[in-house]
């Protein structure tokens, strides 16, 4: 089908505006009168907005859409939806309803749109939510995503930056999907790499989030376009330094090789420019591992700061659920650098 050739131009979270660019604009927006029921807004770099509607219920709102990063429309729909739904899970919430957001060229085969939306709908159902409507625009390029609404108990919201010294950091998915998709764009993805990346990107963070509710989670975020190190830096506060153990990082098949072959994304370099000065790498960390740590993730995993005492049991349950979760480091009392990668 000739249309599939133009379908994928390198999308997913690599298409995000750079964090530097964004904070520049956001800082200038008028804030309006402060509403004490808005528990999480964009004062912090959190994953979604949380609004309290009663003492025991808050609603979580989020919105995410992007251009395709894979050639198959149904798979793209699944990935875009899993990615959008993830923000609810990163706040500790439960998915309730979702609305489609669609940009689609008028001249393109409508069956493609049908497949995309079918992929999205299947993931919303898997998340236990209801697809309630949507909005579509004729545009030169394909873009798809969801606006999702969920609920959370106001006292059990996962914030980004409330980790404590001695917390263990647990990541629930592998890193490197950006590199693999980028290599795939030029037809050079190593054997098995795309399959591993697609399976990772279409996996909902639902199981990881639900398992976490039984443990003492001090902070949580989902790892997406700003990369592992970018999102980790948003988890820091003045009291803590993150020690990352690079050999413990779970990596998508072939991703390190893609970095060694220089299938580098623009977004990874933007991430490096944005948070690079907060990170110190041990002198012998390979270039490819650095690139994986700055790699923009589409529908990436959750990154938890869990009480050290509970880390082993938590990890055990995540693995029992089939997730490639790993302990990737820990928080310690603030020392000379915010993030140290060994």
């Amino acid at each position: 089908m000739p249309q599939e050739i133009v379908f994928c131009k390198g999308g997913g979270c690599t298409a995000k505006l750079g964090p530097d660019l964004l904070s520049h604009v956001l800082a200038k927006l008028p804030k309006g009168e402060k509403d004490s029921n808005l528990l999480v807004g964009y004062d912090s770099s959190d994953d979604a907005a949380v609004y309290r509607i009663s003492d025991d219920t808050a609603i979580v709102q989020t919105l995410d859409f992007f251009p395709p990063m894979v050639d198959d429309p149904y798979t793209f729909g699944q990935i875009a939806a899993a990615n959008a739904l993830s923000d609810i899970y990163a706040m500790g919430g439960t998915v309730k309803s979702a609305l489609n957001i669609v940009c689609f060229p008028e001249k393109m085969d409508l069956n493609i749109l049908g497949k995309i939306m079918q992929g999205g709908a299947d993931k919303v159902i898997e998340a236990g939510g209801t697809l309630a409507g949507g909005h579509s625009i004729a545009d030169s390029d394909v873009k798809y995503g969801l606006s999702v609404m969920g609920t959370v108990h106001p006292k059990h919201i996962y914030s980004n930056n409330t980790g404590q010294p001695s917390d263990v950091l647990i990541l629930t998915k592998k890193l490197g999907v950006g590199l693999v998709c980028n290599a795939n764009r030029v037809g050079e993805a190593p054997l098995g790499a795309i399959e591993d990346a697609v399976s990772s990107m279409t996996t909902l963070n639902r199981a990881a989030s639900e398992i976490s509710h039984s443990f003492e989670i001090h902070a949580c975020t989902d790892v997406t376009g700003f990369s592992f190190l970018g999102h980790l830096s948003e988890m820091l506060n003045d009291d803590i330094t993150a020690l990352i153990d690079s050999i413990s990082i779970p990596v998508i098949t072939g991703a390190l090789r893609c970095a060694d072959e220089f299938f580098l994304t623009a977004a990874a370099q933007r991430n490096r420019n944005h948070v690079g000065d907060k990170v110190r790498f041990a002198k012998n960390i390979p270039f490819s591992m650095e690139e994986v740590l700055f790699d923009p993730q589409t529908s990436g995993g959750l990154l938890f700061a869990v009480k050290a005492f509970e880390a082993d049991t938590f990890l055990h349950e995540l693995k029992a659920a089939g997730l490639p979760a790993a302990k990737v480091g820990r928080f310690v009392k603030r020392c000379d650098v915010p993030i140290y990668v060994n």
């Binding site: 390198g10 030029v186 020690l243 220089f262 580098l264 623009a266 370099q269």
Partner: protein, 205 residues
């Protein structure tokens, strides 16, 4: 000089085009790549740094960028001659003995006995006239360089005599000893591999 036009191309295309141009070279040359954004310049510079090419970039009058990579030696196979030589040298010429401590006890059998033995081993090592260059501690061995270890005094003595002492960071994390290291420095697997590969002799009790 060969010129690669990557104006209008998004990453990784500029790097991919440049790589292909370099692979096609039959003699040392300069490859100039034209790109229209700074991020692409930075990605080309990263490749240059990894490959050891000298790199020179300029902003042109029309807002685009020129990145010139100078390739002095062509890399035809997986390894260059010098790489191959260093890969397969059997014995480093210098005396570089490395002691590797893999466990908090020595030998198989009783752990109680084993912990007495390892303490004795490190004490005896500290009494040697000619101590090793480096000591590496990993897995259970990491406990020996931390607060509470009965070997600390001997290890500090070895350190004072110029022995470089390194403990695996992954292991310290695992045993939750990150803030308990009492002698030497933290290291990682890349360093452990490098030090073991460069050793003239590995002693592991």
């Amino acid at each position: 000089m060969i010129t690669v036009n990557a104006i209008g191309d998004t990453c990784p295309i500029p790097v991919v085009k440049t790589k292909k141009a370099i692979e096609a070279l039959t003699q040392p040359d300069t490859v100039e790549t034209l790109v229209d954004n700074e991020i692409a310049v930075e990605n080309l510079k990263k490749m240059a740094a990894q490959k050891g090419y000298s790199c020179d970039s300029n902003k042109l009058d029309d807002g685009s960028y020129s990145v010139k990579l100078t390739i002095e030696t062509l890399n035809t196979g997986a390894f260059s001659d010098t790489d191959e030589a260093s890969q397969y040298t059997c014995r480093p010429a210098t005396d570089n003995r490395v002691v590797v401590i893999r466990s908090s006890y020595m030998g198989e059998g009783s752990e109680e006995l084993g912990s007495v033995l390892i303490k004795g081993f490190i004490y005896a090592l500290s009494q040697q006239d000619n101590p090793p260059e480096t000591m590496l501690f990993y897995n259970g061995g990491a406990k020996l360089t931390c607060d509470g270890s009965e070997c600390l005094e001997d290890l500090k003595e070895l350190k004072n005599r110029g022995v470089k002492i390194f403990t695996c960071g992954t292991c310290l994390n695992y045993y939750e000893l990150s803030d308990k290291l009492a002698v030497g420095e933290v290291t990682n697997m890349y360093d452990i591999v490098e030090k073991m590969a460069a050793a003239s002799l590995i002693v592991s009790p």
